[in-house]
Each structure stands twice: as C-alpha cells, then as structure tokens.
C-alpha cells in the first residue's frame, strides 16, 4: 500500500485579476515528500499559484486539492500549511520562542508540549539558544531559519516557500539552500518552492516546473528539463543557449544533418529529430545548443557524431573556473561557456566549435 499520494493537486486552475489572466488552466501535482519548484520570470504566475495553494488568493475557476480534499473555499487558517516568505515575516514584538510557539498555541497544544516542540524545531534549524531573543537581534539568515522553524513546527501538510532565499546574500544563500534541502529530506515534507533563480531550482528540486505567462512551459526532473527543453523559452531561461532556425534533412538515420539558416550544417540524433518529426512532415526546425555543451579547440580532430565549426573568438569574459566566449561563425555570434585549462582562449584566436549530435536539441520551427 505504499502508493504515492499527492500532497497538492491543481485541476484546471484559473486565476483572473479583472481582465488579466494570471494563471491559465493549470494542472499540476505535488507528490508526497517531494520538493517541487516553480521557476519563471517575474509575473509568470508562480507566486500567484503559491498564494492560491496557501489560500491567500482565491481561485477563479478549477479545483485545488490538498491531501485529496477539495479546499477551494477553505480559509487559510484552516488549511494546515507552513508558509515562509522572502521577508521572513517574523513577529517583531514577540520573542523567537513565542514566534515558533505561535502556530502551536492556535492548535491547542498543551503548554508542556509546546516547549518541547519549540526546542526540537530550534535544534533542527541549528539555533538552539536564541529562544528568548527578539527577531531584530538576529541576522537575516538566522531570521529565515526561525521563519522555517515556525512553519515546520506545526507539522504542516505542505510547506510553501516564497523566494525564501532571495533576501540573503550570495554565500549565505548557498548555505541555506543546503540546509533547507537537508531539513526537507529529514522531515519528508511535501514542499513547494517559488524562485526565479535557476541554480536554486536545479539544485533543490525533485520536480521542476518552468512557468511563463501563467502557463506551465515544462515540468519534470531538473536534469530532464535542462537537457531536453521543449520550448525556446525553457532553453533560453535555463542556462545560456544558442537558438538558430534551420532545416532538418535527409533519411531517417542515427545522425541527421540540420542545415542552419546561417549556412552551417550540424548533426543531431534520430531521437532528437523524432521529437518534431511527428509535426506533419515539416522540416523547418530550431536547433538549440547550450553554451556549455560546445567544446572549443584549436585543432580540428574529426570524431563520429560530432561537427566542428571554424570561428573566431570575438570577446572573452573571464569567470574564474569558466570563461564565456562569443565566437563569430559566418557573421553570427555563438555563446560558448568552457572550463578553463591553464589559460582561457585569447580574443581574436581562430578556434573550432565542436558540437556533438546528442547536444543539438531540436524544437519545431516558427512556433512563436
């Protein structure tokens, strides 16, 4: 009976603000114990969706289920949810202990047990001795840990995180990311995480949901979404991609040529090509090649299933472990990110861009 249940399920959920449709017929599940991330640019509807799940915004149409119960009309205080905001939202006039005990008090937990539970929550977020301090006596990172402790101490059905790391500075953010993931694993709590930061999304999620214009562009395991974007938007939003129109050519074989509009020919795999072949014989496609999947070399070493395009390096951005190049090939600039061995390639150098067929993702052409 170890059947996976859904902590949250959205069925055809629509949200309109007046004339504006913020979320359009969304279908989504958040499985038990999983970490689901909504990723997208601002205004894509990710926060609105989170607020609908939380009950902070009502749903225009469709059904929202939490633990298989329809909760459309259930007010927020009756949904058993843990909510963490970007701004921490700790009660400034209450001590850390009272902040964490707040939800327990309203759940009619006996006083004796509250102390025990708060202590355990503080231990979990590794701040055992701050109970009698006030929020403004803690640093931003500590405050966010307390906000997390306050949200999980009530043992919520779902943990909702609205850009919880965005207010922290870079080093702290990475530390908290690891911490957050550890706590989520330890408690096995279904979590919805909203962010516009792709590295957070890729690092933390079991399931990544890329949103744009109030719709889901793509959902799946982070690796899947990253390697096989189904739209130019996803390809562009996650990492840096070169997206070039072209024509798919030739017979059905292991490696198939793609003639780019700029004149070069790349190879792609049958599997990649198969994703658009079903679109009624149309040969017009877009090739997506991620910047870090192009290998720069000074010599041309022919390899099976690999194309080497000669080009010249226009600019070099030195990034430490990697360098970002703009390589000009037949008048078009390609973005390339390569690890640095000893020295980055020099500006103005003639290089070959080696592109493997399996890294040439094919999308239908003229889609947008």
């Amino acid at each position: 009976m170890a059947e996976t249940r859904n902590a949250v399920e959205l069925r055809n959920v629509v949200k309109r603000f007046g004339e504006f449709t913020a979320v359009q017929r969304m279908n989504l599940t958040v499985p038990d114990n999983s970490f689901v991330t909504f990723l997208g640019p601002s205004g894509c509807g990710k926060t609105t969706t989170l607020r609908m799940i939380a009950g902070l915004t009502d749903i225009t149409d469709g059904d929202l289920l939490i633990r298989d119960k329809r909760v459309n009309a259930l007010p927020i205080h009756k949904r058993n949810l843990g909510l963490v905001f970007q701004s921490y939202a700790l009660f400034p006039h209450k001590t850390i202990f009272d902040n964490i005990a707040f939800g327990l008090k309203y759940r009619k937990i006996p006083r004796s047990m509250i102390g025990e539970k708060v202590k355990r929550a503080l231990d979990l977020v590794q701040l055992p001795n701050v109970g009698d301090r006030y929020p403004n006596q803690l640093s931003g990172g500590q405050q966010q840990r307390i906000a997390l402790a306050r949200a999980i101490v009530i043992e919520p059905d779902v943990l909702l995180l609205d850009e919880p790391l965005s207010a922290l500075d870079a080093n702290l953010r990475e530390e908290m990311r690891v911490e957050l993931k550890r706590i989520q694993r330890e408690l096995g709590i279904a979590t919805v995480f909203v962010t516009h930061d792709q590295s957070e999304a890729l690092a933390m999620s079991d399931k990544l949901v890329v949103m744009n214009n109030g719709m889901i562009e793509q959902e799946g395991a982070p690796e899947d979404v990253y390697n096989n974007p189904v739209s130019a938007f996803v390809a562009d939003f996650l990492g840096h991609s070169n997206i070039i129109a072209g024509e798919l050519d030739g017979p059905d074989q292991e490696y198939m040529p793609v003639h780019l509009s700029s004149g070069e020919t790349l190879l792609t795999t049958r599997q990649q090509a198969g994703r658009v072949a079903r679109v009624e014989g149309s040969k017009s496609v877009r090739a997506v090649i991620r910047a870090e999947k192009i290998d720069l070399s000074t010599e041309n070493i022919p390899q099976d299933g690999m194309v080497a395009l000669p080009g010249r390096i226009k600019t070099v951005d030195y990034l430490g472990q990697t360098a970002r190049y703009f390589v000009t090939v037949n008048g078009r600039d390609w973005q390339v990110i390569n690890p640095i061995n000893a020295h980055p390639h020099a500006e103005g150098a003639d290089v070959f861009m080696n592109i493997a067929a399996r890294n040439c993702v094919i999308l239908p052409g003229h889609a947008d």
């Binding site: 205080h77 949904r79 949810l81 309203y106 759940r107 949200a151």
Partner: protein
C-alpha cells in the same frame, strides 16, 4: 593640527546656531519671562509689583476652584482622547489597507479641515446643533418636536468639538504605524491558524500601538491646552484650565496669576510627556509629520 581639530569641534555648533537661536528667542526666553512674571504681584491699583512673591503660587496650588477645573480639564481631555482613538482607528485602518490608487488623495482629505480656521470649524457646530440649527429645523419641519431642543453649551458639545478638532491628528498617527506593518505578518499569522480577528489582535493591534499612543498623547496635550472650544461650545460650568489663563491675562489683565496658572498646566503636561517618552519614545510623533 590643533587649529584644525578646534575648528572641527566648533563646526557642529556653527551649524546648529540658527536653530538654537530660534528656539532661544521664541521659546526659552519668553518662557523665562513667564516664570519671572509668576513671582510678581498684582496690586489693587492694577499695577504689577516687581519682586519675589509666592502669593500667586499659593493661590493657584491651594484654591480648590483651580484644582476642580484642572480635574475637569483632564477629564474632558481623557474622554476626547479615548473617543478619538476608537473613532480614528477605523479610517486609519482603511487608508492603510486600501488598494485604491487614491491613497494620497485620502490622506490629503484628512488634512483638508486644517485649511479652515479652527475657530470657524468650532463655530460651525452652532449652525448644526443650535436652536435654529440644522437638526432642530429638520425635527420641527418633520413635526417630531414643537420647540427646539437645547443641545449646545454643555460638556458633551465641548468633547464633540474637541474630537472634531483632534481626530485628524489621531488618524494620521495610527495610519503611520499601520502603514509600517508588513502585510506578510498577518498572512503569516493566518497561515499559523489565526482567523482574521485573531490575527488583528495578535499582530496588527500590538504593532500599531506606538501610533495609537503617540496620537493619544498629542490629542490629550492639545485638548488639555485648548480654550476656544469650551469658550464657543461650552456652558458657564464647562470652563477648562486654559480658559482660566485666558480669563486672568486677557480679561483681568492679571499677568502674574495667569503666568502661574499656565506654568502649572505646562508642568503637569511636561510630566506626562516625560513619562510617555520614558516608556515609548517621542520620536513616534515625528513620524506622522514626515
């Protein structure tokens, strides 16, 4: 080096000198005059006798009459403050939480009464409550009453006039502290199990308390020091402490007694402000005038 640091030490004082001069000439020196006056004596001939006499102070501090009026003054100021707080909280909450684009316009409308003289505003109640005022005329017209009811010139109308005068100060102060409360806080409280009312009681109300306290202090102090409202809307038995000062100085031309009276009020209100400042801090009041 030494010259430079001496100059550095002088610089703050040079920069402060305009404000220090203004405060000295307009506040501190006149106040000293009042203190000096209070020890003079007014003789039967009407001339002031210069010297150090404690007669005024003795009269002011021992005469029951003054004590009763002082008590009545603080009573009226207290009722006014409580009513302002209760009535003012609702519009302040509305303006702070409205999604209307015209928030600035609403705030401007709060300030609108200040464009009309306070005396005119106070006197307008005579046209509303007076025997040939709006209410009486309407009631006689409908036939509900035959002759006008007397509504003016009692403690209630004095309090009404004071509330009318002081409400914007209260609303503004409460608004400022409500506006500073992060919206996520009530949402967080609700997600933890509070209904709307409980979230208000646990989060919004305690966090707006500084504004409520600042508004209350301002209302109480301003109400305690007013003499126009009881003069215009009060009866002979509704005099407030400032009326005594007015009476002594303007009517009887007894400056020494008037000075002693006003210093009593100043001292008592000063104690109130000091207590407030000790526990809550006066800087909250400044926030609403930013």
């Amino acid at each position: 080096m030494a010259a430079e640091s001496a100059r550095g030490r002088r610089q703050p004082w040079i920069l402060l000198s305009p404000s220090l001069a203004t405060i000295s000439f307009l506040l501190i020196i006149p106040m000293m005059f009042i203190v000096v006056y209070s020890f003079w004596l007014r003789t039967a001939t009407g001339a002031d006798q210069v010297g150090f006499y404690l007669d005024n102070w003795q009269e002011v501090l021992t005469d029951r009459y003054y004590r009763d009026i002082l008590f009545q003054t603080f009573q009226i100021a207290f009722y006014t403050t409580v009513i302002c707080a209760l009535v003012g909280y609702i519009p302040a909450y509305f303006v702070a939480n409205t999604r209307m684009r015209s928030k600035t316009l609403l705030l401007l409308m709060l300030m609108l009464p200040f464009w009309i003289s306070y005396i005119i505003r106070t006197m307008s109640w005579i046209n509303i409550l007076g025997s040939s005022g709006a209410i009486n005329t309407f009631l006689i017209w409908t036939g509900a009453i035959d002759s006008p009811i007397s509504m003016l010139y009692n403690q209630t109308t004095v309090i009404l006039g004071l509330v009318h005068y002081l409400l914007p100060f209260m609303i503004l102060n409460i608004y400022v502290s409500l506006d500073g409360i992060e919206k996520n806080l009530t949402e967080a409280a609700q997600s933890l199990g509070c209904n709307g009312w409980q979230a208000f009681r646990e989060v919004t109300l305690p966090l707006s308390f500084p504004g409520l306290a600042a508004g209350s202090l301002l209302c109480f102090v301003l109400a305690s020091g007013t003499y126009i409202t009881p003069l215009v809307l009060g009866g002979p038995r509704d005099a407030m402490f400032a009326n005594l000062v007015f009476e002594a100085i303007v009517t009887q031309l007894n400056w020494p007694l008037g000075s002693a009276l006003s210093l009593v009020l100043l001292a008592l209100l000063g104690v109130l402000v000091a207590v407030y400042s000790r526990y809550l801090g006066v800087d909250q009041i400044a926030k609403s005038f930013r």
